[in-house]
Amino acid sequence: MALTRRSSNLLKSLTTINPTTRLFSTSSDSSITIETSVPFTGHKIDPPSRSVTTSSSELMTFFTDMSQMRRMEIAADSLYKAKLIRGFCHLYDGQEAVAVGMEAAITRKDNIITAYRDHCLYLGRGGTLLETFAELMGRKDGCSKGKGGSMHFYKKENGFYGGHGIVGAQVPLGCGLAFAQKYSKEDNVSFALYGDGAANQGQLFEALNMAALWDLPAILVCENNHYGMGTAEWRAAKSPAYYKRGDYVPGLKVDGMDALAVKQACKFAKEHALKNGPIILEMDTYRYHGHSMSDPGSTYRTRDEITGVRQERDPIERIRKLLLSHDIATEKELKDIEKEIRKEVDQAIAAAKESPMPDPSELFTNVYVKGYGVEAFGADRKEVRTVLP
């Protein structure tokens, strides 16, 4: 059947945990070196080594953060079905490794910009669960005061630039962020995330050309979950090797379900971008949900494929197995963490439900920047129609 023709490719990077060294240490934060599931593939560049140095505390952070993200997305699913979240809701479960791996490799001074599948990246950049749920439900306490919605999460102080609805439009913005960093001579990079669907947008290549021309510290990350809404990648792209699409710009293909591989790749990319200009990272990842909540996700792929990937390549399971095999935590401890997270998420949802809707006056705030008050009034200034603050 045509639908399943390519699905076997998705299961190729199987979990093989081969710890090359294991330091027995009584300290709680022992350094561990782990091999990634598959080696990196480079395009016009020597890929980094497969061995990633990590620590037990980092692995625990990965586990906790990813479980929190997973729980949040599943809770968002139920809230959507309960009609508390409306409109579009694009869920990220399955792709959490990209968010946590990237965070582990960079600082808050580096910028991340992404498209509409932004809930988990927002969380990774320091957003709170309350802000997320409140924004999803359109409440005042949301990160954009309830005026943005699912596709418009931003956190300026932590370098998270959103949150964009139009496919591909965030990539030139991302190159603009990198331009500003180069202009101000900062030693930081900007990650512009996009999907396999957006990889066919013209503005991406325009932006890439400019970034390469001026050696901007921009890293373009293609989160390849193999489906552009309902269209599989082989039906949309003549060449689905997105990391090679840069031609003169080097690229790296990464197993996006392995948080450690993502971390290694992002670290490598940051070093490269600061010295040599842009680089493309292709994260081979997968989303369990459909494109959005209005897409069942099963008309263009089989349930077997989804369960197959979940069994073989789930990012949280991989970290769980690592934690257990390295004796960093017991089965019970991990279960307790998950229970704790479940409670946290439920509490956040309850608090978000308590949050009020935005005030009607908020309709007119933030249209223009304060201080440039625009008034629409009658000739005699007696009747002020509205003041846009």
């Binding site: 954009s144 964009h164 030139p172 913005l173 603009g176 962020l177 400019m210």
Partner: protein, 307 residues
Amino acid sequence: MERDPRVCVIGEDVGHYGGSYKVTKDLAGKYGDLRVLDTPIAENSFTGMAIGAAMTGLRPIVEGMNMGFLLLAFNQISNNCGMLHYTSGGQFKIPVVIRGPGGVGRQLGAEHSQRLESYFQSIPGIQMVACSTPYNAKGLMKAAIRSDNPVILFEHVLLYNLKERIPDEEYVLNLEEAEMVRPGEHVTILTYSRMRYHVMQAAKTLVNKGYDPEVIDIRSLKPFDLYTIGNSVKKTHRVLIVEECMRTGGIGASLTAAITENFHDYLDAQIVCLSSQDVPTPYAGTLEEWTVVQPTQIVTAVQQLCR
């Protein structure tokens, strides 16, 4: 640019070439290639880049070589430039200035003679201004750069060669204010950009015929300066709008609606709006002349209005 290191210029041929209309002449030599950035021909992306840079605090000025090319960047201007301040709940300011020559030139052909004021006017979150003299061009440009809101500054292809004495000292004009060009008593003529000159030419004829038109250059296309306009309407009770925009959905159409809504009681006659014809601008010189409003048409309209 000298005052604020965050101000930079981004556009095609703005640097080494000096700008297709020499607006940015010599700036690259003075400020360097990064501050006066020559871009490849990728309007959508470099406008997006400018907006991204503005999100972090830079103040870029984007030049569309011809305003018509900015249609390619419409997505970025509408969705990202205009809306980001709102959808982020106020977290991001987008202090960009988008400028470029537009309007009907001398037989430049349909695609290079576009008036985009009407296309951009509905975008929430942006301000639009049109300059018409060297004096207000400098003042409005400075104000636009200093403004924290995204501003689209409409220049006109045929007005670049105007020469005028302007003050040496620094001055900044108000982005939302209209300019009283010629006070009068009989009729209010509202205009902007190049049509100001056609109106002033018509005004000479009208004065000879005994009329006393009040000419206002509205300058601020979004939002309208209803204060100045309203006071004028209260005085003269008759309004004529002369614009280069298309008839359908143009600035004149919005202005007519705004004046009717607010000052209906003060009007003695229906508002007359003279705009360009709803056709692609033809190449032939005579046809092109008939597309745009000419001074004789303005004189006739005033005579009919003041009967």
